[in-house]
Amino acid sequence: MRSHLALIALALSLMAAAPASQIQLGATIMAHGTASGALPCMACHGGHLQGNPAIGAPRLAGLDPAVTLAALKAIASGKMGKNYVMANIARDLSPTQRQAVAAYLASLKSRS
C-alpha cells in the first residue's frame, strides 16, 4: 500500500513538471529564436528575461504557463500588444514551441 502511494505521488510529480527536453527547447528559443524566423526573445526582453522598459518589453521570467500561452494567443490574433515584430513572432511559434517557451519561463520561477 505504501509503495503504491509512493508510486502515485511520483507519477503526479512527473505529470506536473515539464519534461527537461521541453524546457531545453524553450531555453534555445529564448536565446536563439527559431529556424522559421522567430527572433531570440532575449534580444528585446533581456538576457535574464527581466524585461526592458526602454522598449516596452515586459518581464517574462517566472510567468505562469497559462499566462504565457494566453498572451501568445492574444498577441498572435492581434488582440494584445502593438509591436508588429512581437505579433509576427507569436504567429510563427508552433503549439509545441509555445508550450516549450511557457515551460521554460515557468521553470525560472522555481529557481529564483
Binding site: 536565446a31 536563439h32 529564436g33 524566423g37 527572433l39 531570440p40 532575449m42 534580444a43 528585446c44 538576457g47 526592458n52 522598459p53 526602454a54 522598449i55 516596452g56 518589453a57 509591436n83 508588429y84 515584430v85
Partner: protein, 208 residues
C-alpha cells in the same frame, strides 16, 4: 536559295549570342537592392570591435564582402528584424557565408556598452556579425561618409528615450568599394532569395 536561308539563320543566331553575352556582364540587382557604385566613397572608419576590445579600421575587413548597418540594441523592431534576416541570408549563402562580414555600428554608444552589444549580437548566433562602437567623432564621421542619419534623444524615463536611424544596409566589395544598398531587409516582405543572390554574386565575382 537554301544557302542564303542558312546564312540568315546563322546571322540571327550570332546576333542573339552577342546579346546574351552583353547581358551576362551586366548583373541585374534585385528590386530591393540599389546600386551606389561611384556615388559613395570607399569604406573608411576607425572604431572598437566590441568582441575583442581592439581598434579596427576598413583594413581589417579587406577580402570580405562587408555590410554596414547603423542601429542600437534597444531598438524594438527594425534592428532585430534586420539582424534575423541577415542571419538567414548568411545561412543560405552556405560556404560563401564566412566570406562576408556584417558590421553593426551602434548609434547609441551611451547605452550600448561593448559587453551589452557583444552579448546582443551573440544571441543571433552568426560569427559573421561584428559589433562596432566608437566615440561621437568616430561615429559621426563614419555615418556622414555614408549619408546615414541618426539622432539620440536621451531621457530619464526609458520609455521616452528615443533613437532614430537610417535602416539601410550598405554593401562593400572585398576592396572596400561601395557596391549597393539593401533597402528591403526590414521591409514587410524582404526578398531574402534575391538579396542572397546579389551577395553571392558579389562574393564570387568581386563586383556587381
Amino acid at each position: 536559295m537554301i544557302n542564303r536561308r542558312t546564312l540568315w539563320r546563322g546571322g540571327l543566331a550570332l546576333s542573339s549570342t552577342a546579346l546574351l553575352a552583353a547581358c551576362h556582364h551586366a548583373w541585374t540587382l534585385d528590386a530591393q537592392d540599389v546600386s551606389v557604385r561611384g556615388h559613395f566613397p570607399a569604406l573608411q572608419f576607425q572604431m572598437t570591435d566590441v568582441a575583442t576590445g581592439k581598434i579596427v579600421t576598413q583594413a581589417n575587413f579587406r577580402g570580405f564582402v562587408t555590410l554596414v548597418y547603423f542601429g542600437y540594441t534597444n531598438c524594438p523592431d527594425v534592428c532585430p528584424l534586420t539582424l534575423a534576416e541577415m542571419v538567414k541570408i548568411i545561412g543560405l549563402l552556405g560556404k560563401d557565408g564566412p566570406k562576408l562580414r556584417f558590421l553593426f555600428v551602434t548609434v547609441d554608444p551611451e547605452r550600448d556598452t561593448a559587453p551589452i552589444l557583444a552579448k546582443y549580437l551573440h544571441l543571433f548566433g552568426a560569427t559573421e556579425l561584428v559589433g562596432l562602437r566608437g566615440n561621437a567623432a568616430q561615429l559621426s564621421q563614419f555615418a556622414k561618409s555614408l549619408h546615414a542619419d541618426y539622432a539620440v534623444h536621451p531621457a530619464a524615463n526609458p520609455a521616452d528615450y528615443t533613437v532614430t536611424h537610417s535602416a539601410a544596409v550598405y554593401v562593400f566589395n572585398q576592396h572596400g568599394k561601395a557596391e549597393f544598398i539593401c533597402a528591403g531587409l526590414s521591409a514587410q516582405h524582404p526578398d531574402i532569395a534575391g538579396i542572397t543572390r546579389d551577395l553571392r554574386h558579389l562574393i564570387k565575382t568581386g563586383a556587381i
